[in-house]
Amino acid sequence: MVDLGGIRKPISIALVPEAEVGDYVIVHVGHAIGMIDPEEAEKTLALFAEMQAMTGAEVQS
Protein backbone atom coordinates (compact mmCIF):
# COMPACT_ATOMS: atom_id res chain seq x y z
CA MET A 1 0.00 0.00 0.00
CA VAL A 2 1.57 3.28 -1.05
CA ASP A 3 0.37 6.66 0.07
CA LEU A 4 0.96 9.63 -2.18
CA GLY A 5 -0.50 12.89 -0.98
CA GLY A 6 -3.45 11.10 0.59
CA ILE A 7 -4.04 8.68 -2.28
CA ARG A 8 -3.54 5.11 -1.15
CA LYS A 9 -3.03 2.28 -3.57
CA PRO A 10 -1.89 -1.28 -3.08
CA ILE A 11 1.32 -2.07 -4.97
CA SER A 12 3.61 -5.02 -5.02
CA ILE A 13 6.84 -4.81 -3.05
CA ALA A 14 8.11 -8.17 -4.28
CA LEU A 15 11.04 -6.40 -5.93
CA VAL A 16 12.01 -4.42 -2.83
CA PRO A 17 11.05 -6.75 0.00
CA GLU A 18 13.23 -4.74 2.35
CA ALA A 19 10.77 -1.82 2.12
CA GLU A 20 9.02 -1.10 5.38
CA VAL A 21 6.07 1.03 6.36
CA GLY A 22 7.20 4.62 6.21
CA ASP A 23 9.81 4.10 3.51
CA TYR A 24 9.65 6.01 0.26
CA VAL A 25 9.73 3.89 -2.87
CA ILE A 26 9.80 4.48 -6.61
CA VAL A 27 6.74 2.99 -8.25
CA HIS A 28 6.63 1.79 -11.83
CA VAL A 29 3.68 -0.08 -13.42
CA GLY A 30 2.24 -1.03 -10.03
CA HIS A 31 5.49 -2.29 -8.54
CA ALA A 32 7.95 -0.68 -6.21
CA ILE A 33 11.21 -0.98 -8.15
CA GLY A 34 13.51 0.82 -5.76
CA MET A 35 13.71 2.79 -2.56
CA ILE A 36 14.46 6.43 -1.99
CA ASP A 37 17.41 7.13 0.25
CA PRO A 38 16.35 10.17 2.29
CA GLU A 39 19.93 11.18 3.01
CA GLU A 40 20.88 11.19 -0.63
CA ALA A 41 17.71 13.13 -1.47
CA GLU A 42 18.71 15.77 1.07
CA LYS A 43 22.19 15.90 -0.41
CA THR A 44 20.81 16.51 -3.87
CA LEU A 45 18.52 19.21 -2.60
CA ALA A 46 21.44 20.75 -0.78
CA LEU A 47 23.33 20.79 -4.06
CA PHE A 48 20.49 22.77 -5.64
CA ALA A 49 20.43 25.15 -2.72
CA GLU A 50 24.18 25.65 -2.99
CA MET A 51 23.67 26.52 -6.62
CA GLN A 52 21.04 29.00 -5.60
CA ALA A 53 23.49 30.59 -3.25
CA MET A 54 26.13 30.75 -5.97
CA THR A 55 23.81 32.20 -8.54
CA GLY A 56 22.37 34.53 -5.97
CA ALA A 57 25.86 35.75 -5.26
CA GLU A 58 26.56 36.36 -8.90
CA VAL A 59 23.35 38.28 -9.39
CA GLN A 60 24.26 40.50 -6.45
CA SER A 61 27.68 41.21 -7.79
Binding site: L15, I26, H28, V29, D37, L47, F48, T55
Partner: protein, 387 residues
Protein backbone atom coordinates in the same frame (compact mmCIF):
# COMPACT_ATOMS: atom_id res chain seq x y z
CA UNK B 1 4.12 15.19 -2.30
CA UNK B 2 7.43 14.53 -0.64
CA UNK B 3 10.46 13.95 -2.92
CA UNK B 4 8.39 15.26 -5.83
CA UNK B 5 7.38 18.85 -5.22
CA UNK B 6 10.86 19.80 -4.04
CA UNK B 7 12.21 18.74 -7.42
CA UNK B 8 9.76 20.92 -9.35
CA UNK B 9 10.60 24.23 -7.75
CA UNK B 10 10.47 27.05 -10.29
CA UNK B 11 12.76 29.37 -8.37
CA UNK B 12 15.50 26.77 -8.14
CA UNK B 13 14.98 26.02 -11.81
CA UNK B 14 15.67 29.59 -12.71
CA UNK B 15 18.85 29.54 -10.63
CA UNK B 16 20.16 26.36 -12.22
CA UNK B 17 19.28 27.79 -15.61
CA UNK B 18 21.34 30.88 -14.87
CA UNK B 19 24.18 28.67 -13.67
CA UNK B 20 24.16 26.73 -16.93
CA UNK B 21 24.08 29.94 -18.90
CA UNK B 22 26.98 31.23 -16.88
CA UNK B 23 29.11 28.12 -17.27
CA UNK B 24 28.29 27.17 -20.88
CA UNK B 25 30.96 28.38 -23.25
CA UNK B 26 29.24 30.86 -25.61
CA UNK B 27 31.79 29.94 -28.26
CA UNK B 28 30.51 26.40 -28.65
CA UNK B 29 27.26 24.46 -28.68
CA UNK B 30 26.32 21.54 -26.48
CA UNK B 31 24.12 18.67 -27.67
CA UNK B 32 22.93 16.22 -25.08
CA UNK B 33 20.72 13.24 -25.70
CA UNK B 34 18.15 12.38 -23.10
CA UNK B 35 17.79 8.68 -23.69
CA UNK B 36 14.59 8.19 -21.72
CA UNK B 37 11.08 9.12 -22.72
CA UNK B 38 10.52 10.08 -19.12
CA UNK B 39 13.06 12.85 -19.51
CA UNK B 40 11.58 13.90 -22.84
CA UNK B 41 8.22 14.20 -21.15
CA UNK B 42 9.58 16.19 -18.21
CA UNK B 43 11.45 18.56 -20.51
CA UNK B 44 8.31 19.22 -22.55
CA UNK B 45 5.74 19.33 -19.82
CA UNK B 46 7.65 21.70 -17.56
CA UNK B 47 9.04 23.81 -20.34
CA UNK B 48 12.67 23.09 -19.39
CA UNK B 49 13.99 24.19 -22.77
CA UNK B 50 13.08 27.80 -22.15
CA UNK B 51 15.37 27.87 -19.16
CA UNK B 52 18.38 26.74 -21.18
CA UNK B 53 20.67 28.98 -23.15
CA UNK B 54 20.32 28.70 -26.90
CA UNK B 55 23.61 26.88 -27.34
CA UNK B 56 22.54 23.97 -25.14
CA UNK B 57 20.33 21.60 -27.10
CA UNK B 58 18.54 18.47 -26.14
CA UNK B 59 18.23 15.57 -28.55
CA UNK B 60 15.49 13.02 -27.94
CA UNK B 61 16.74 9.46 -27.72
CA UNK B 62 15.14 6.10 -28.35
CA UNK B 63 14.06 5.57 -24.76
CA UNK B 64 10.32 5.70 -25.23
CA UNK B 65 9.30 2.06 -24.99
CA UNK B 66 6.26 2.55 -27.19
CA UNK B 67 8.22 4.35 -29.90
CA UNK B 68 10.75 1.61 -30.48
CA UNK B 69 8.16 -1.14 -30.88
CA UNK B 70 8.25 -2.26 -34.51
CA UNK B 71 5.02 -2.68 -36.50
CA UNK B 72 5.54 -6.43 -36.85
CA UNK B 73 5.39 -6.93 -33.10
CA UNK B 74 2.10 -5.06 -32.78
CA UNK B 75 0.77 -7.09 -35.69
CA UNK B 76 1.50 -10.23 -33.68
CA UNK B 77 -0.50 -8.93 -30.73
CA UNK B 78 -3.38 -7.86 -32.97
CA UNK B 79 -3.46 -11.25 -34.60
CA UNK B 80 -3.57 -12.98 -31.24
CA UNK B 81 -6.67 -10.96 -30.40
CA UNK B 82 -8.46 -11.09 -33.73
CA UNK B 83 -7.48 -14.52 -35.06
CA UNK B 84 -6.67 -16.56 -31.98
CA UNK B 85 -9.43 -15.05 -29.82
CA UNK B 86 -7.00 -14.35 -27.00
CA UNK B 87 -7.52 -11.63 -24.42
CA UNK B 88 -4.56 -9.36 -25.05
CA UNK B 89 -3.52 -7.15 -22.13
CA UNK B 90 -1.18 -4.26 -22.52
CA UNK B 91 -0.05 -0.92 -21.11
CA UNK B 92 -2.09 2.10 -22.14
CA UNK B 93 -0.05 3.88 -24.80
CA UNK B 94 0.64 0.68 -26.70
CA UNK B 95 -3.03 0.67 -27.67
CA UNK B 96 -2.59 3.50 -30.15
CA UNK B 97 0.60 2.56 -31.98
CA UNK B 98 -0.10 2.25 -35.71
CA UNK B 99 0.32 -1.25 -37.14
CA UNK B 100 -0.34 -2.90 -40.50
CA UNK B 101 -3.64 -2.57 -42.39
CA UNK B 102 -4.41 0.79 -40.78
CA UNK B 103 -4.92 -1.05 -37.53
CA UNK B 104 -3.73 -0.44 -34.02
CA UNK B 105 -4.65 -2.31 -30.89
CA UNK B 106 -7.42 0.19 -30.18
CA UNK B 107 -8.82 -0.26 -33.67
CA UNK B 108 -8.50 -4.02 -33.40
CA UNK B 109 -10.50 -3.71 -30.20
CA UNK B 110 -13.16 -1.81 -32.11
CA UNK B 111 -13.14 -4.68 -34.58
CA UNK B 112 -14.04 -7.08 -31.83
CA UNK B 113 -10.67 -8.02 -30.38
CA UNK B 114 -10.71 -8.48 -26.63
CA UNK B 115 -7.91 -6.10 -25.82
CA UNK B 116 -7.56 -4.67 -22.35
CA UNK B 117 -5.50 -1.89 -20.94
CA UNK B 118 -3.78 -2.86 -17.72
CA UNK B 119 -1.94 -0.84 -15.15
CA UNK B 120 0.44 -3.61 -14.24
CA UNK B 121 1.50 -7.12 -15.31
CA UNK B 122 -0.22 -8.37 -12.16
CA UNK B 123 -3.54 -7.16 -13.59
CA UNK B 124 -3.03 -9.35 -16.64
CA UNK B 125 -2.44 -12.26 -14.32
CA UNK B 126 -5.68 -11.47 -12.50
CA UNK B 127 -7.54 -11.40 -15.82
CA UNK B 128 -6.12 -14.83 -16.65
CA UNK B 129 -7.31 -16.17 -13.32
CA UNK B 130 -10.77 -14.74 -13.90
CA UNK B 131 -11.08 -16.18 -17.41
CA UNK B 132 -9.82 -19.75 -17.16
CA UNK B 133 -11.51 -20.74 -20.41
CA UNK B 134 -9.75 -18.02 -22.42
CA UNK B 135 -6.15 -17.57 -23.49
CA UNK B 136 -4.76 -14.41 -21.89
CA UNK B 137 -1.64 -12.88 -23.38
CA UNK B 138 0.26 -10.07 -21.76
CA UNK B 139 1.86 -7.95 -24.46
CA UNK B 140 4.95 -6.99 -22.48
CA UNK B 141 6.91 -3.99 -23.64
CA UNK B 142 9.47 -1.75 -22.06
CA UNK B 143 13.01 -1.39 -20.84
CA UNK B 144 14.66 -2.77 -17.75
CA UNK B 145 12.08 -1.09 -15.51
CA UNK B 146 9.05 -3.00 -16.72
CA UNK B 147 10.91 -6.26 -17.15
CA UNK B 148 11.06 -7.30 -13.48
CA UNK B 149 7.26 -7.04 -13.00
CA UNK B 150 6.81 -9.18 -16.12
CA UNK B 151 9.28 -11.70 -14.75
CA UNK B 152 7.36 -11.74 -11.48
CA UNK B 153 4.11 -12.39 -13.33
CA UNK B 154 5.62 -15.28 -15.26
CA UNK B 155 7.13 -16.79 -12.16
CA UNK B 156 3.84 -16.46 -10.27
CA UNK B 157 1.92 -17.99 -13.19
CA UNK B 158 4.27 -20.96 -13.12
CA UNK B 159 3.96 -21.37 -9.37
CA UNK B 160 0.17 -21.27 -9.63
CA UNK B 161 0.10 -23.52 -12.64
CA UNK B 162 -1.92 -20.93 -14.55
CA UNK B 163 -2.41 -22.73 -17.84
CA UNK B 164 -3.99 -19.95 -19.88
CA UNK B 165 -1.48 -17.15 -19.31
CA UNK B 166 1.40 -16.24 -21.58
CA UNK B 167 3.58 -13.28 -22.40
CA UNK B 168 4.44 -11.80 -25.76
CA UNK B 169 7.83 -10.57 -24.67
CA UNK B 170 9.13 -7.36 -26.27
CA UNK B 171 11.40 -6.23 -23.48
CA UNK B 172 14.47 -4.40 -24.70
CA UNK B 173 17.78 -3.36 -23.22
CA UNK B 174 18.94 0.21 -22.75
CA UNK B 175 22.71 -0.27 -23.02
CA UNK B 176 22.40 -2.05 -26.36
CA UNK B 177 20.35 0.80 -27.78
CA UNK B 178 22.83 3.41 -26.64
CA UNK B 179 25.72 1.42 -28.09
CA UNK B 180 23.83 1.08 -31.33
CA UNK B 181 23.38 4.82 -31.61
CA UNK B 182 26.98 5.49 -30.83
CA UNK B 183 27.96 2.90 -33.44
CA UNK B 184 25.64 4.29 -36.09
CA UNK B 185 27.38 5.75 -39.12
CA UNK B 186 25.91 9.21 -38.55
CA UNK B 187 27.52 9.39 -35.15
CA UNK B 188 30.69 7.43 -35.73
CA UNK B 189 31.70 8.12 -39.28
CA UNK B 190 30.01 11.24 -40.49
CA UNK B 191 29.83 13.03 -37.19
CA UNK B 192 26.57 14.56 -38.27
CA UNK B 193 25.10 14.01 -34.86
CA UNK B 194 27.21 15.85 -32.38
CA UNK B 195 26.18 14.16 -29.19
CA UNK B 196 28.29 15.60 -26.44
CA UNK B 197 26.85 13.54 -23.65
CA UNK B 198 23.89 11.64 -22.28
CA UNK B 199 21.31 12.29 -19.64
CA UNK B 200 21.21 8.76 -18.30
CA UNK B 201 17.99 6.90 -17.49
CA UNK B 202 16.29 7.31 -14.14
CA UNK B 203 14.09 4.28 -13.52
CA UNK B 204 16.15 1.98 -15.71
CA UNK B 205 19.18 2.84 -13.65
CA UNK B 206 17.38 2.05 -10.41
CA UNK B 207 17.19 -1.49 -11.68
CA UNK B 208 20.50 -1.92 -13.54
CA UNK B 209 22.58 0.49 -11.49
CA UNK B 210 25.03 3.07 -12.76
CA UNK B 211 27.86 0.68 -13.53
CA UNK B 212 26.70 -0.42 -17.02
CA UNK B 213 27.27 3.12 -18.34
CA UNK B 214 30.96 3.17 -17.49
CA UNK B 215 31.58 1.37 -20.73
CA UNK B 216 30.26 4.18 -22.99
CA UNK B 217 31.95 6.83 -21.05
CA UNK B 218 35.27 5.10 -21.57
CA UNK B 219 34.80 3.54 -24.97
CA UNK B 220 33.09 6.43 -26.74
CA UNK B 221 34.44 9.27 -24.63
CA UNK B 222 30.97 10.60 -23.81
CA UNK B 223 29.92 11.85 -20.40
CA UNK B 224 26.81 10.33 -18.86
CA UNK B 225 24.84 11.85 -16.00
CA UNK B 226 22.12 9.68 -14.57
CA UNK B 227 19.19 11.89 -13.63
CA UNK B 228 15.82 11.60 -11.94
CA UNK B 229 12.61 12.31 -13.85
CA UNK B 230 11.79 15.58 -12.13
CA UNK B 231 12.58 18.73 -14.05
CA UNK B 232 15.18 19.97 -11.55
CA UNK B 233 16.95 16.63 -11.87
CA UNK B 234 17.17 17.15 -15.60
CA UNK B 235 18.47 20.68 -15.28
CA UNK B 236 21.05 19.67 -12.72
CA UNK B 237 22.18 16.83 -14.98
CA UNK B 238 22.57 19.25 -17.87
CA UNK B 239 24.68 21.50 -15.72
CA UNK B 240 26.82 18.53 -14.74
CA UNK B 241 27.19 17.54 -18.41
CA UNK B 242 28.20 21.08 -19.37
CA UNK B 243 30.84 20.99 -16.69
CA UNK B 244 32.22 17.63 -17.87
CA UNK B 245 32.33 18.84 -21.46
CA UNK B 246 34.06 22.03 -20.41
CA UNK B 247 36.61 19.95 -18.52
CA UNK B 248 36.93 17.49 -21.40
CA UNK B 249 35.87 14.77 -19.01
CA UNK B 250 33.87 11.68 -19.96
CA UNK B 251 32.70 9.73 -17.00
CA UNK B 252 29.54 8.53 -15.40
CA UNK B 253 28.01 10.78 -12.80
CA UNK B 254 24.92 10.12 -10.76
CA UNK B 255 22.56 12.98 -10.06
CA UNK B 256 19.90 10.51 -8.94
CA UNK B 257 21.76 9.10 -5.95
CA UNK B 258 18.55 9.10 -3.92
CA UNK B 259 17.40 6.06 -5.89
CA UNK B 260 20.25 4.79 -8.05
CA UNK B 261 23.18 2.80 -6.68
CA UNK B 262 26.18 1.54 -8.68
CA UNK B 263 24.95 -2.06 -8.59
CA UNK B 264 21.15 -1.40 -8.94
CA UNK B 265 18.37 -3.65 -7.68
CA UNK B 266 20.09 -7.03 -7.45
CA UNK B 267 16.95 -8.89 -6.54
CA UNK B 268 15.19 -7.57 -9.64
CA UNK B 269 18.21 -8.44 -11.78
CA UNK B 270 18.29 -11.97 -10.41
CA UNK B 271 14.61 -12.45 -11.10
CA UNK B 272 14.98 -11.16 -14.64
CA UNK B 273 17.83 -13.49 -15.41
CA UNK B 274 15.94 -16.40 -13.90
CA UNK B 275 13.07 -15.87 -16.33
CA UNK B 276 14.68 -14.23 -19.35
CA UNK B 277 17.76 -14.65 -21.50
CA UNK B 278 19.31 -12.56 -24.23
CA UNK B 279 17.71 -12.60 -27.65
CA UNK B 280 20.32 -12.88 -30.41
CA UNK B 281 18.66 -10.11 -32.35
CA UNK B 282 15.56 -7.92 -32.10
CA UNK B 283 14.09 -5.35 -34.43
CA UNK B 284 13.69 -1.84 -33.05
CA UNK B 285 11.54 0.66 -34.81
CA UNK B 286 13.91 3.17 -36.29
CA UNK B 287 17.08 1.29 -35.41
CA UNK B 288 16.44 -1.93 -37.31
CA UNK B 289 17.76 -5.27 -36.11
CA UNK B 290 19.98 -4.75 -33.09
CA UNK B 291 21.96 -7.75 -31.92
CA UNK B 292 21.57 -8.81 -28.28
CA UNK B 293 19.31 -5.86 -27.58
CA UNK B 294 16.30 -7.64 -26.16
CA UNK B 295 15.15 -10.47 -23.92
CA UNK B 296 13.28 -13.66 -24.52
CA UNK B 297 11.68 -16.10 -22.14
CA UNK B 298 13.89 -18.98 -21.02
CA UNK B 299 13.15 -22.56 -21.96
CA UNK B 300 12.16 -23.33 -18.38
CA UNK B 301 9.22 -20.97 -18.77
CA UNK B 302 8.41 -21.90 -22.36
CA UNK B 303 4.77 -22.61 -21.49
CA UNK B 304 4.32 -18.92 -20.76
CA UNK B 305 5.98 -17.73 -23.95
CA UNK B 306 3.24 -16.62 -26.33
CA UNK B 307 5.64 -16.89 -29.28
CA UNK B 308 6.09 -20.60 -28.68
CA UNK B 309 2.62 -21.28 -27.41
CA UNK B 310 0.96 -19.83 -30.50
CA UNK B 311 3.83 -20.67 -32.80
CA UNK B 312 4.21 -17.06 -33.87
CA UNK B 313 6.55 -16.12 -36.67
CA UNK B 314 7.84 -12.56 -36.58
CA UNK B 315 7.47 -10.67 -39.81
CA UNK B 316 9.23 -7.36 -40.25
CA UNK B 317 7.04 -4.60 -41.71
CA UNK B 318 8.51 -1.40 -43.12
CA UNK B 319 7.45 1.88 -41.53
CA UNK B 320 5.37 4.42 -43.38
CA UNK B 321 7.65 5.92 -46.00
CA UNK B 322 7.09 9.50 -44.94
CA UNK B 323 7.82 8.74 -41.31
CA UNK B 324 11.16 9.93 -39.97
CA UNK B 325 10.83 8.17 -36.65
CA UNK B 326 13.93 6.12 -37.26
CA UNK B 327 16.12 9.12 -37.82
CA UNK B 328 14.47 10.94 -34.95
CA UNK B 329 15.10 8.04 -32.59
CA UNK B 330 18.77 8.05 -33.54
CA UNK B 331 18.88 11.78 -32.91
CA UNK B 332 19.60 12.49 -36.59
CA UNK B 333 16.42 14.39 -37.31
CA UNK B 334 13.86 16.31 -35.35
CA UNK B 335 10.08 16.11 -35.51
CA UNK B 336 9.64 19.22 -37.63
CA UNK B 337 11.92 17.69 -40.25
CA UNK B 338 9.14 15.21 -40.97
CA UNK B 339 6.99 16.36 -43.86
CA UNK B 340 3.79 15.15 -42.26
CA UNK B 341 4.42 16.28 -38.69
CA UNK B 342 1.37 18.04 -37.32
CA UNK B 343 -0.61 17.67 -40.50
CA UNK B 344 -1.18 14.08 -41.51
CA UNK B 345 0.52 12.80 -38.39
CA UNK B 346 -1.04 14.06 -35.18
CA UNK B 347 -1.64 12.48 -31.81
CA UNK B 348 -5.22 11.65 -32.92
CA UNK B 349 -4.01 9.95 -36.07
CA UNK B 350 -0.43 8.97 -35.41
CA UNK B 351 1.41 7.70 -38.47
CA UNK B 352 4.60 6.86 -36.67
CA UNK B 353 5.14 5.59 -33.18
CA UNK B 354 6.89 8.74 -31.98
CA UNK B 355 3.54 10.51 -32.21
CA UNK B 356 1.81 8.09 -29.88
CA UNK B 357 3.07 8.32 -26.35
CA UNK B 358 3.56 11.68 -24.73
CA UNK B 359 7.12 10.43 -24.21
CA UNK B 360 7.60 10.19 -27.95
CA UNK B 361 9.65 12.94 -29.52
CA UNK B 362 6.99 13.94 -32.05
CA UNK B 363 4.08 13.80 -29.63
CA UNK B 364 5.98 15.73 -27.01
CA UNK B 365 6.86 18.43 -29.47
CA UNK B 366 3.34 18.50 -30.92
CA UNK B 367 1.68 18.62 -27.55
CA UNK B 368 3.91 20.89 -25.56
CA UNK B 369 6.37 22.64 -27.81
CA UNK B 370 4.62 23.37 -31.05
CA UNK B 371 4.03 27.06 -30.37
CA UNK B 372 7.77 27.54 -30.55
CA UNK B 373 7.72 26.86 -34.29
CA UNK B 374 5.12 29.47 -34.89
CA UNK B 375 6.40 32.97 -35.35
CA UNK B 376 3.37 34.98 -34.46
CA UNK B 377 2.97 33.28 -31.14
CA UNK B 378 6.62 32.94 -30.38
CA UNK B 379 6.87 36.72 -30.55
CA UNK B 380 4.57 37.24 -27.62
CA UNK B 381 5.02 33.96 -25.88
CA UNK B 382 8.71 33.56 -25.24
CA UNK B 383 9.55 34.72 -21.77
CA UNK B 384 13.25 34.37 -21.98
CA UNK B 385 15.38 34.94 -18.97
CA UNK B 386 17.64 37.46 -20.59
CA UNK B 387 20.89 38.05 -18.84
Amino acid sequence: MKYIDEFRDGELAKQIGERIRAEADPQRSYSFMEFCGGHTHAISRYGVLELLPSNVRMVHGPGCPVCVLPIGRIDLAIRLALERDAIVCTYGDTMRVPASDSLSLIKAKARGGDIRMVYSAADALAIARANPQREVVFFAIGFETTTPPTALAIRDAQREGLANFSVLCCHVLTPSAITHILESPEVRQFGTVPIDGFVGPAHVSIVIGSAPYDHFAEEYRKPVVIAGFEPLDVMQAILMLVRQVNRGAAHVENEFTRAVTPEGNLRAQALVSEVFELRPSFEWRGLGEVPYSALKIREAFAAFDAERRFDLAYQSVPDNKACECGAILRGVKKPTDCKIFGTVCTPENPVGSCMVSSEGACAAHYTYGRFRDIPIVAATATEEVTP
